[in-house]
């Protein structure tokens, strides 16, 4: 390449004794001068420089240039540092960049950057100086900034204290275009808290602790809360599709399939850096974006494991949540399927140890749902599990890694694996890996359940008997150690009639130590249609349901600690299974337990199909309390509750005195019920009386009018009388019977 002006200058940069005046660049300058006239957008003003004299100036310029060239392209001769009459610099300089975009970049990145200990750069666009700094634009008199008077925020957890004193739970109903929040009134009409039309554009969501109600709009996400349901936060992510909260409501991740496009005039929250990104991580407290990410290209057929298993796979949907949070909001991780895991540390959102964790072939991972205290581990740690498929001759692995040390604390090698699903128990005490294995010929499939006892020393793994059928669903009992699986003999595919399924219950054996005994099969219920498991958030009760099914819609309510007689065969097991009730909600698409575990709501959402949309509410025993069909019913969401503030002892105390409390509550309930009944009866009596009074009045009026018009009292009697004069009064009533014989079939048989 021929030496150009650019090259010359850069080559000469390190040359200290270089004098600008020696070279004649007037022709070039002229050229740039013209550009200058065209617009000042490429210029910035750098303020806050140290005071220098003519001799020191080139040094400073060079020093400055290093910084300036980090963000764009400029040259020494494009820096103009005016000097005062006393031969000293005026502590500022004009710099021209090669493009307005670079200048804008410089303003963004270099402003407020320290030059040395004493000096901090202030970078502004020249046009801005012109715009804001021109004479007259700045008020000469100083006026103290206006500070708004302190306004106490609304209490965001007000709803925990139910004004009726009954400790009811709230729920959202999104139907048609309106979103309403209601108090659950069991059998009665829910009490309305707030109802707004067009509150959201796509869906609503509670934050994980129930503090905020989230509405989603084309412009972004809004959080609402407090007794007045005022807007608490706003996150302007244009065309946002999905959102997820961190478990402690500190951060929010938003995702849009459409990459962010920052318009010319800028964006209220996002910057040009976020252009082209799909994910934004926000700090909820400040409602500022922390960092944005682009979507990863989903590995196609050329994925790591694809060579080994030739089964053609459908293009994977991008998994959600793409960013998974550790239990304490300190870390957030994103999987780069097949190669690595990127863990970011909050609140700075920097990559942990500045590198992603390389895990060859990693397919999936999941954080422990709580901060687990492992046996013999004193230091702080967060656990997550992951699995990798077989690669070449290496076995498939399920691993448990601890963060921040990135140590793998346990791995389990497995063969003939086609898929693994990881299920944490809600307290992080157990981890079940549901391993789908194929036989050597890949013709038959079987499932094993590998259970990690995470809290025990050395993390022992227990393998459950091989299950011949495909396990389509698995669920741990929350805060417990039992689980339910649903299996099916046939593979689940897009068949017209869903295959029959079996529901199996497992529980640990009785053991003497603190740790639960080995898991044993408790009971299997065959030939069912059920496909979903919904445990009560408090454990013990479970609803086995058939959802998204045209043909059946059963709801079975089970109690695993039934207080009745226990079968002899189960005497060593820590469960006593009892089917309490069955329900049927035609077209049910979703089942939701309320956070207290007292009620179950089932609903049929218009998003899934348009048949019999609406909701039912059952109590935990499966007794139907209320059903309300509603057109265009979309969502029913119980408001989550934050964890209780009571200590273990206090909770124990309450449980001990439950009988005392329940007496009071039962009395209250009975009174309320009685008064409600009385009201209904009273209203009916009033209605009946009003009706009878009205009838009496109108009948009388009618008679009067008839009399006035000279018409007979009963016009019909007269009409009929004239019509039937020939029937004498004393004629005997006759009964005419008619017998009709009908030959239905005639056949002839010839008897030989």
């Amino acid at each position: 390449m021929a030496p150009s002006f650019d090259h010359l200058r850069e080559a000469d940069l390190d040359d200290d004794d270089y004098d600008e005046e020696e070279i004649d660049i007037s022709d070039l300058r002229e050229k740039y001068e013209v550009q200058l006239e065209q617009g000042y957008d490429a210029f910035v003003v750098i303020d806050g420089l140290p005071e220098v004299n003519e001799e020191q100036k080139p040094k400073l310029v060079k020093f400055l240039l290093k910084k300036l060239n980090q963000v764009g392209k400029t040259r020494e001769d494009l820096i103009f540092m005016p000097m005062g009459e006393d031969g000293k610099s005026l502590r500022f300089a004009f710099v021209e960049y090669s493009s307005p975009a670079e200048a804008a970049n410089a303003v963004r990145q270099l402003d407020q950057v320290p030059l040395d200990k004493k000096h901090t750069l202030r970078v502004n666009k020249l046009t801005d100086i012109d715009r804001y700094g021109r004479e007259g634009r700045v008020n000469e008199e100083y006026s103290p900034p206006h500070i708004d008077e302190f306004q106490p925020n609304e209490h965001l957890r007000w709803w925990l204290k139910d004004p009726s004193g009954r400790g009811r739970d709230q729920f959202i109903m999104y139907r048609g275009d309106s979103v309403g929040v209601f108090w659950n009134n069991e059998k009665e009409q829910p009490e309305i808290v707030v109802d707004r039309m067009h509150w959201t554009e796509s869906f609503v969501q509670w934050s994980p602790l129930g503090t905020y109600l989230t509405s989603v709009h084309a412009q972004g996400v809004q959080l609402w809360g407090g007794p007045s349901w005022s807007r608490q936060r706003r996150f302007a992510h244009p065309f946002v599709n999905l959102i997820s909260f961190s478990p402690n409501e500190k951060y929010l991740v938003t995702w849009s399939a459409r990459p962010i496009a920052i318009p010319e005039e800028g964006h209220p929250a996002l910057t040009i850096d976020d252009d082209g990104k799909n994910y934004v991580v926000w700090d909820i407290e400040t409602s500022k974006p922390l960092r944005s990410f682009a979507s990863l290209d989903t590995p196609g057929a050329a994925g790591a494991g694809a060579g080994a298993d030739a089964t053609p796979q459908k293009p994977r949907k991008s998994p959600w949540p793409a960013f998974k949070w550790s239990a304490d909001d300190k870390y957030v991780a994103r999987l780069n399927q097949g190669s690595s895991l990127s863990i970011y540390e909050l609140p700075r959102m920097n990559l942990l140890d500045k590198t992603s964790i390389k895990i060859d072939g990693v397919m999936d991972f999941d954080w422990a749902p709580v901060t687990v205290q492992r046996d013999g581990v004193k230091s702080y740690e967060q656990l997550f599990c992951f699995w990798t498929p077989e690669i070449g001759s290496n076995p498939a692995r399920v691993g448990l890694m601890t963060i921040p040390s990135k140590e793998v604390v346990r791995t389990l090698n497995l063969f003939n694996v086609s898929d693994v699903k990881l299920h944490w128990q809600s307290e992080g005490a157990f981890l079940c890996a549901k391993v789908d294995r194929h036989s050597k010929s890949k013709k038959s499939m079987a499932t094993t359940l590998e259970i990690f006892r995470v809290k025990e020393k050395g993390v022992p793994v227990e393998v459950l008997d091989t299950i011949k059928d495909t396990v389509i669903n698995f669920a741990w009992e929350p805060k417990g150690d039992r689980f339910v699986i649903i299996t099916t003999t046939e593979p689940v595919g897009p068949t017209a009639v869903a295959p029959k399924t079996s529901v199996a219950f497992y529980c640990p054996e009785k053991s003497k130590g603190p740790a639960p005994g080995n898991w044993k099969h408790l009971r299997t219920l065959d030939k069912r249609n059920s496909n979903s498991i919904y445990w009560s958030p408090r454990g013990r009760f479970v609803v086995i349901a058939t959802v998204h099914n045209q043909q059946s819609s059963d709801l079975d309510f089970f109690d695993l600690d039934f207080e009745g007689e226990k079968p002899e065969s189960d005497k060593d097991l820590t469960a006593n299974l009892q089917l309490m009730n069955t329900g049927d909600h035609y077209g049910v698409t979703d089942v939701e337990w309320d956070p207290s575990g007292r009620f179950v709501a089932t609903y049929s959402s218009a998003w899934k199909h348009a048949m019999e949309n609406g909701y039912h509410i059952y109590d935990f025993k499966g007794e139907a309390l209320r059903e309300e069909p509603m057109e265009k019913f979309k969502q029913f969401l119980w408001r989550p509750r934050p964890p209780t503030l009571l200590t273990k002892e206090e909770q124990k105390q309450i449980r001990k005195n439950l009988r005392e409390y329940s007496k009071v509550f039962e009395l209250e309930d009975a009174e309320r019920g009685a008064s409600a009944d009385r009201e209904v009866v009273e209203a009916r009596r009033r209605q009946l009386d009003e009706w009878c009074a009205w009838r009496a009045a109108i009948e009388e009026e009618l008679l009067e009018e008839r009399a006035f018009l000279g018409l007979p009292e009963d016009p019909l009697a007269v009409l009929l009388a004239t019509k039937t004069p020939e029937v004498p009064d004393d004629a005997e009533e006759q009964i005419i019977e008619e017998i009709v014989e009908e030959v239905i079939e005639e056949s002839e048989e010839i008897v030989p």
Partner: protein, 336 residues
């Protein structure tokens, strides 16, 4: 109670009427003939031939001597019940959607369709109660409905008013002598047509059914809405039961949408509501299409429903129906 299934029609039913004694049922369908049936066993008494279009409506005079019918062949006809003879034909420029005799059978009104530039009219003719007499051609009254077309109409007590239900969901009261519009009240949701209007025994109040999924009980004198019955499906018909304080509502998914949904979802049931308390009391299933018309036996012994499926189902009430009573009703009865 096992219903009697009247399978005499080949197309969707349009209207069913009982005669005053409750022993005859007249039914019309889109298949161009009117059927008369014995109410107690469902035997067909006969049919009335003459119309050459779908028949929309039928009514019987109080003495069961004559019936009137209205059809899509743009005629309104009068028939002799006994012989099936067509006594008189009135021609109109458009279809006749509703006919009704007044309480003494001396006047007949017809509602004509709005079509081909003709506005919907309510026409009244005089009727000579004698079967053998010549009927007059003269329309003694014509009410033009220029605001919104009339879909149904009927005579109030003493033939004092003509009450009409309109396509926009409103109900009008006209002076039956001179045809002046006295009141027009929007009772149903805007632009949901009033699909049926049936009277109480003494014609002092009536019930309207509408596509807005509600039925309303309204006074004839001042069009005051007394009661509202809310259902979950568009309604085609509503009837007031004599003897017991109930109303019967019939409807179901619009006929054109039916093929896309299951019978379960179509809501093809007759619904019983308590007339005074507005509560739903029960439902009767059976039809496999929407109910186009329901009629209550004036003697209170049963009811009949006609569906898009072409069947008429005649039900006799059981003892339980007559015994059913709310606590407050029983209280009141005991007090009297």
């Amino acid at each position: 109670m096992r219903p009697v299934l009247l399978a005499g029609h080949e197309r969707a039913l349009t209207q069913i009427r009982y005669n005053l004694d409750g022993d005859l049922i007249f039914s019309t369908a889109k298949d161009q003939h009117i059927c008369a049936w014995y109410a107690h066993n469902g035997e067909r008494l006969g049919t009335y031939h003459g119309h050459v279009g779908a028949i929309w409506t039928v009514d019987v005079d109080p003495t069961s001597t004559m019936i009137a019918s209205g059809s899509a062949d743009n005629t309104m006809r009068l028939w002799d019940v006994k012989t099936g003879k067509n006594l008189k034909t009135w021609e109109f420029p458009t279809a006749v959607k509703r006919v009704e005799f007044n309480e003494d059978g001396t006047k007949l009104l017809g509602v004509t369709e709005k079509r081909m530039g003709y506005l919907s009219n309510i026409v009244v003719v005089d009727i000579n109660p004698d079967v053998n007499a010549e009927q007059s051609d003269e329309k003694i009254l014509t009410i033009v409905c220029d605001e919104s077309k009339a879909t149904v109409a009927g005579w109030s007590y003493l033939s004092k008013f003509i009450i009409a239900g309109h396509e926009d969901g409103s109900v009008s009261q006209y002076d039956a002598k001179n045809g002046d519009l006295l009141y027009n009240v929007s009772v149903h949701e805007l632009n949901t047509p009033v699909t049926d209007l049936q009277w109480s025994n003494d014609r002092t109040y009536f019930i309207t059914a509408s596509k807005d999924k509600t039925a309303k009980l309204i006074t004839a004198k001042d069009l005051e809405v007394l009661k509202t019955y809310v259902s979950d499906t568009p309604l085609n018909s509503a009837a007031i039961t004599p003897k017991k304080d109930f109303v019967i509502l019939g409807g179901g998914q619009a006929a054109m949408d039916v093929t896309t949904t299951s019978a379960r979802q179509g809501k093809f049931e007759a619904r019983f509501y308590h007339k005074i308390f507005e509560d739903e009391i029960g439902r009767v299933r059976g039809h496999f299409g929407p109910l186009n018309t329901v009629a209550a036996d004036p003697t209170g012994k049963g009811y009949a429903s006609g569906g898009e499926d072409g069947y008429v189902r005649v039900h006799m009430f059981d003892k339980g129906y007559f015994d059913f009573m709310y606590e407050v009703e029983r209280d009141r009865q005991n007090r009297l």
